[in-house]
Symmetry: D2
Subunit: 306 residues, 4 copies
């Protein structure tokens, strides 16, 4: 495809930037509530090396749930298809049915991106690694070519202090038999994992391996097989945006993942990744401007997997 | 793409054909329960005109829920984006939450492919057409270049006699204010619509317009806009296979739609459509062999949107 | 017990009468929405023959769900304990779980007083009687010594025209196998049954047999056994007031049943029955003043079964 | 009432004793799983001082949830009617809706006898007492005239080690804002409370105050007001037997409370209390023989509140 991405991104950014933003900052921990809410950055990374960003694309933010794709990648790489004996691959419907479904399904979460599923992934990593906290960090550092990448202890500690609902969830799965380690240990790692910080450029580069058939672009190292990569992309498409996953597939038409810190990363297989960040969230918990920008981007480019 | 589709399809068919089929026929009406269960046909239609089928690809069967894509297409074409004020675009989770969600959401179904959503689509067509039954049939006849296509009155009558659950659903939505016509009238049309019969070749050809950006292939007539076509594809990917939609995206990686008659149609945007039919259903209500065949097809071809 | 009931009732009535009534008329059919909302009557009937009423105690109103106790009585009398194979005896929790529970329990309603349960009772009567409509009316006429008692066709017709939710419910149970007759036939009888009209005096007298061990007071005829009578009283206590049954047991402490027409009947086994009527309903669907009056009555008399 | 209780109890005991018991021991902790399953005791205590027991009526067992009536009594006594701002008084329907309802109701449990409600009661006691563990024990020692009554540390520790579901529940309510202390502290007290051990005689005597209008029988000390006592009795009737509360009201017709250790206590206001114990539980979690015995007792005595 010969497409002037830079032009399309500039246009989409300029259309989105001045929009009145009715979104609200995540406020369950002070570290997220105190972020400067007007920030907005986007970054595009083509597999052929082209790279282009705008706005606050180099300001780091808490990637939160976006990290769940990376922990899934590592666990899937280590365990293989057997991982799906402990986690399903279906969209989750709504929060209303999640606990009921966990009970009916013997503690098998609907997919690896809802909190329950991400906790089971963490449990798998805690079981298979000697030091999950350090080894997962090393994995992401290598994947992102960012040797100084770090957890935010401030954020992780704050989550731990306020995370009663996650404590509830992890103990509930434990009671159903699908957490093998101590809940407290799994939760510690879970909160650390979600505290990673990246900027849009780093995020779009880090996710390039999923647009590239599982192969890291900078050094052509196979992280996971093409088949695994396709499956993770499918999961992002059907389950990546909480209760707005269908809407994102419908309006943007790319696999992607959002986080409560206001970040979104999306990708077009075999072509590019694109990241957007703006901290105000819409009522479904996804970045208001991030969603709008990607919708504009798709409208102008007509680049969707559909 | 220069790919030997014929070879891939033959291989996938031969691998699937001898599998022991643990599936069960739909048995809620005698017309479906009495189908010869061993039948198995597949048909591939490329946008460039190439066409290839195997097995019982010319035996007509009841397409059932697959027709919901066609009624949605007609209603979407007539009403435009306003249709989404009455139907949402999210995967439905499980049956357990559907009635609860309808109530919480004031009768707005989660998506147009669950029964509740398809009924609202029917209600829209009943409101906007003088004779929904005839005009919808004309629309599908034109779309499929099959002037003799017909409803099966036997099947429709049988559904009407056994459809207490659908009568319940339609009246429930009526009570919530999202059915405008008389439930009995909407249900009559709904059962007619689901009684259409096609064979695999007809089915794959009929759906080609969705692989072709909304344009009918045989005469290049625009049925719906490219954007609308993409959105219907996105809906098929996230919601096309009941509670197995995630699994189909995960394992096959193509937008598609199944029916309780054992038919499945899937498509690769800008390239091809493929239909499979075998009447025995897996526990999730999708054709056992149809699913297996498409999985094999994808494994060999590596052709997925991810 | 030597208690000055007249004095207690007068006091409770005078305290309740001037209360500002925040309640709302049932408005789903015009016949209920157009009732004079300020009416308020109470009537007390002692088993020893003492009888005392105040206010609008001789104005007839639509007894609605209160009639479900009478249809249960007739069906229980005819079928015996086998009736509980088709209906459970547990409080229903909330409306949110009712349809889910019906499905899980193969169409067995939680109790005979929720709509689902009352429909199964009607189905039983339709099966066991030649003309359920007439024979049930004869039964109530005899029980109440009111040979002119009649269904309100106006109300029944209005319910039939607006009862989409009940149509939904009856067809849903039919699909689960626990309605044996045609849903339309069962619904017709159900709506007739709920259209009975009585005044407070008639209501309290009619229910005296349940305070009298199943024996009609006026002619000492055994309607049902003492054991059956106790069991119906237990059901009224645990399930008689929709999602406010616990509250009524807690604050009033007597078995009773309310209807959406604003009527309530309660009873103290071996002693008396008491009826109250005022058409404005609290948010849980029970008469605001009726509930308050009975609470005051209990506070003054200290007569509760606890 | 001049009734030969001793004779009735003997008859009911003899009829129940030889029944083949299909029940199962609670097996989630070894302390309950290892109890001798054949034990069966009953004890009757009349307010006039008559006292009569049979079988293993002097063997102590873990009273478990029965203790929730005692912690409620103490909290209700201390806080008064304001307690109902934090706990509702409605039957809970089934386990399926409990977490959903907690969320919808902002963490307000349906009643004080489901685990969620008992935890909020514990939280209230932890807030209002300097040392809830010791002061609650003192309260029960005084109420039961058993100065040596003690918690079973073995059982409490075992519950703590296996209680992931209760940890989940307490943290969930905390996240909804209806637990004020640290979940771990509330849970410690909750598990201690449930570890109390009594025999049937002690249990029936301890609960006599609820049959006696809130006044302790041995020394005529008012524990709570008559009105409070009536309300706790009403709660036991509507909510005392998990998802079998309606059945118990229906078949036995007395307020009561069961525990997973196989104990049941029931009472007839103004007359007597009766306790039964047999460790095998029916599928609803209530003592199989305990339920049967009380049913026989009621059948012979015809003593029910209905």
């Amino acid at each position: 495809m010969q497409i002037d991405y830079q032009n399309i991104i500039e246009k989409a950014y300029r259309q989105t930037q001045p929009l009145k933003d009715p979104g609200k900052l995540a406020d369950y921990i002070p570290e997220l509530a105190n972020v400067d809410p007007g920030q907005f950055g986007v970054h595009y990374t083509n597999l052929d090396g082209a790279d282009f960003g705008m706005g606050d694309n180099q300001v780091r933010f808490s990637i939160q749930s976006i990290a769940k794709v990376l922990s899934l990648t590592l666990a899937y790489k280590m365990v293989g298809e057997k991982i799906w004996e402990r986690i399903d691959v279906e969209p989750s419907g709504t929060k209303f049915d999640s606990l009921l479904l966990l009970e009916i399904n013997n503690g098998i979460p609907r997919n690896p991106f809802i909190n329950a599923g991400a906790m089971v992934v963490c449990d798998i990593l805690v079981s298979h690694l000697i030091n999950a906290r350090m080894e997962f960090l090393d994995f992401v550092r290598d994947l992102s070519d960012l040797p100084d990448l770090a957890y935010s202890d401030t954020i992780a500690d704050s989550e731990k202090a306020h995370g009663h609902r996650n404590v509830a969830l992890c103990n509930f799965i434990k009671s159903l038999g699908n957490i093998q380690n101590k809940p407290a240990e799994v939760l510690d790692f879970y909160f650390d994992m979600c505290s990673l910080e990246m900027n849009c450029r780093e995020l779009s580069r880090t996710f390039s391996f999923l647009a590239n058939g599982g192969v890291k672009v900078s050094d052509q190292k196979e992280i996971i097989s093409t088949n695994m990569s396709k499956r993770i992309n499918a999961l992002m498409l059907t389950c990546g945006f909480y209760d707005e996953s269908g809407e994102f597939a419908f309006k943007v038409g790319l696999p992607g993942k959002s986080g409560v810190g206001g970040g979104i990363v999306a990708l077009y297989p075999r072509h590019f990744t694109i990241a957007a960040w703006s901290p105000r969230l819409n009522p479904k918990g996804n970045s208001f401007k991030g969603m709008k920008f990607l919708e504009e981007f798709t409208n102008h480019s007509e680049l969707t997997i559909f």
